[in-house]
Symmetry: C2
Subunit: 110 residues, 2 copies
DNA sequence: CAATTTATTCTATATTGTATAGCTAATGTC
DNA sequence: GACATTAGCTATACAATATAGAATAAATTG
């Protein structure tokens, strides 16, 4: 465990997108998945910046695939989560869960 | 909803601490609650900086209480979460949940 | 090879995360 | 009441994360 042990808010979302996209995760699909699921709009630049950071930390790995026979289309960079990345997700989840334990939320707060 | 709609990772933890501490949340107890629950050590400065930001965004409010009759017992600044703050927590939770839906985690990833 | 398309990289800036040091207001002691 | 001691809060600074937009690259087609 290095200096910052918990995933940032957006890092968390991005890494979850990778997990659910499994073998077909690359910039564009990651963005789509996040937008489709959460309704949150994010720039493609934001996606890549985060992917790069996560890879640097060893939570992801990536490799370029073969270009697909579509109009245009340079080759995609596919990402997958490492075991270390999965640990980070779990750690982050546990932290929130421990703080949420026994709270009802949706409360009546002024 | 303004520019950044989701709580940052630490903001999230801090606001959850306030919710569970209810009427007795102030700098010191917030810090204790987080450390006790998550095992995560945070400086008191980090706590206040985050509380101040959350208050600026309207997610919290604070007021000073009466000084307590202890040695050094100066008055505490008590914090409570606003309705807007509760909404932010829920929004953040929903985002993660929508991304987690149907994932097993604890997976076998390389 | 120019135009078009899909995808990635670069760059720049705002917001968050985090620690340390310093300041204030209480109480206790002589 | 001057001064030490204590609990709690503020100020400041800097590193890391979030985010957008423009620029660049690599394919495909006529």
């Amino acid at each position: 465990m290095s200096s910052r042990d918990y995933l940032g808010e957006f890092e968390h979302i991005v890494i979850l997108a990778l997990l659910r996209l499994a073998g077909r995760a690359y910039g564009v699909t990651v963005r789509q998945e996040i937008e489709a699921r959460t309704g949150r709009e994010v720039s493609i630049g934001a996606i890549y910046a985060t992917l790069d950071r996560l890879e640097t930390k060893g939570y992801l790995k990536s490799q370029f695939g073969e270009p697909t026979p579509e109009r245009g289309g340079r080759s995609k960079r596919f990402f997958h989560v490492t075991a270390k990345g999965v640990s980070a997700v779990n750690r982050t989840h546990r932290a929130v869960q421990s703080m949420t334990q026994g709270l009802d939320l949706i409360g009546s707060h002024s």
